[in-house]
Amino acid sequence: MDILEYSAVELSAAIREGKVTATDAVEAVLARIDAREKDINAYVTVDREQALRAAASVQEKIEKGELTGPLAGVPVAVKDNMCTEGMLTTCSSKILENFVPTFTSEAVVNLERAGAVIIGKTNMDEFAMGSTTETSAYGVTRNPWNTAHVPGGSSGGSAAAVAAGECFFALGSDTGGSIRQPASFCGVVGLKPTYGTVSRYGLIAYGSSLDQIGPLTKNVTDCAAVLELIASHDTKDSTSVRREDTDFTSALVDDVRGMKIGIPRDYLGDGLDAEVKEAVLAAAKVLEEKGAVVEEFDLSLVEYAIPAYYTIAAAEASSNLERFDGVKYGYRTSSYEGLHNMYKKTRSEGFGAEVKRRIMLGSFVLSSGYYDAYYLKALKVKAMIKKAFDDAFARYDLILGPVAPTTAPRLGESLSDPLKMYLGDIYTISVNLAGLPGISVPCGKDTKGLPIGLQMIADSFQEKKLIQAAYTYEKTKRGCGKWQSNMRQ
């Protein structure tokens, strides 16, 4: 059997059983990277020597019985906005073109401690601002299912790497859909946990009140195993939540009998592609046949989520990105007159167009005279949206709908009209505003052969319901097929 056909959990089991070694796995992934990267460009950095060294060390510990976990020896790709000590971390921006962190983000530390092997850092929209991975300063990433299309974003490199077999699983971050939407476009599983579940320590901030790190995986079992490892209470992140119920793999149960699932009518209206709608409703039918109680309902306020989100995210981004000034690390402009001119030139040359657009909007909505009308108003709407979800979860265990209105657009189609691109986030962003967990699971392909994702949303801290329903659905084998049967080339 080709090593790459294993899921992450299967691979680790095979290593523990002595069928393959961690070094074999890294070598297989590196060979796959050599074969596919020129077309895909999923990675900003691949660190071969470090990965091979880590694999040898992990293999030894597995043989000695010191590492026994379900992901020991498994090659992982990390989104390039998570700090990794000694490994370039760019956020896909020119302004961090030479930034080598002196510490590692907590989520990655948790993976390393469990024996996962870091292969490299994946491409993304610059500072996670975008939905296509086209705003990267290091070139676009292409969708492995069809390289004329985008992989989605902002965690497009992570999703593409998993889909193309260039790693066994990946970490992404989700501020407005940036894990779930690329997972949907690339036919993999992606989960955004409840806010506060995974430490944000070492995650380069975009919208701090919305950002969460989460897994992108080949299947739901891997997703639960990765989430179980990266979820931890961390005193270095003041928004970290202490949870006792992080045994997520216990929810890998093939049963949805009696589970109440609501489909918001507001998610099925204008703008939703007919093929996506059909696939999502067919998936709901499957869960119904498995014993879930499925009905449509009105969630309300859906159209207000995007303006509220872009106000809050831009405001937080303008504040978070103030730190990039060319003094302590990163890019500094070559010629300048005085300190302020250096700041301005460094930032103007170092940031791309989309990042500047959001920093300016954020500075404006926070400025004196506009703060109440825009920023504070958005925070009030956020409270209303959270209330609408609270009401829904008083009646339903899960909310089900599409991840995105369409499948992956063609490269170059999205950036010319930013507002139109923002509208593509309509089904994912309210989840971030309300701090809820959401999962994207493959549920079919369109006539162009591009994957379609099914989104399920649960109340805060109810990831287990998501995992159980997603696992039950996956068991019926109605996804979009495994990468190996579709993409071997």
Binding site: N98, F99, V100, T102, Y195, G196, S209, T235, S238, T239, V241, E303, Y304, I306, P307, Y310, T311, S318, E322, D325, G326, V327, K328, Y329, G330, Y331, R332, E337, G338, L339, N341, M342, Y343, K344, K345, R347, S348, K356, R357, I359, M360, G362, S363, F364, S367, Y374, L376, K377, A378, L379, K380, V381, K382, A383, M384, P418, L419, A434, G435, S460
Partner: protein, 97 residues
């Protein structure tokens, strides 16, 4: 309500955001920001009287800890990332005469 972003507003936002825009970028920024604000104005349709602004979804409190150093001296490692460095310090342009 169409938002018209003036040259003065763009200049002011440029100062707040510490960005220096070319004339072409300024024209584009005026258009982009006006369009975004027109869209954000949709929020005004909602009556939010009496609703508390929600900055955080959970009732979290600030987290305090003792002010104890837990990491060692990392100045050498940190300075390795500096665009300009001299005598264990960051080099910056002259800030006052």
């Amino acid at each position: 309500m169409a938002n018209v972003i003036t040259d003065e507003t763009i200049e002011y936002v440029g100062i707040l955001a510490k960005l220096e825009l070319s004339d072409e970028e300024k024209e584009q920024a005026k258009k982009d920001m006006g369009r975004m604000l027109d869209y954000i104005d949709k929020l005004a349709e909602l009556d939010t009287a009496g609703i508390e602004p929600m900055s955080h979804v959970f009732p979290v409190q600030n987290v305090f800890r003792e002010d104890v150093v837990t990491n060692g001296d990392e100045s050498e490692k940190t300075l390795r990332n500096a665009p300009g460095e001299k005598d264990n310090m960051f080099v910056v342009p002259k800030t006052f005469e």
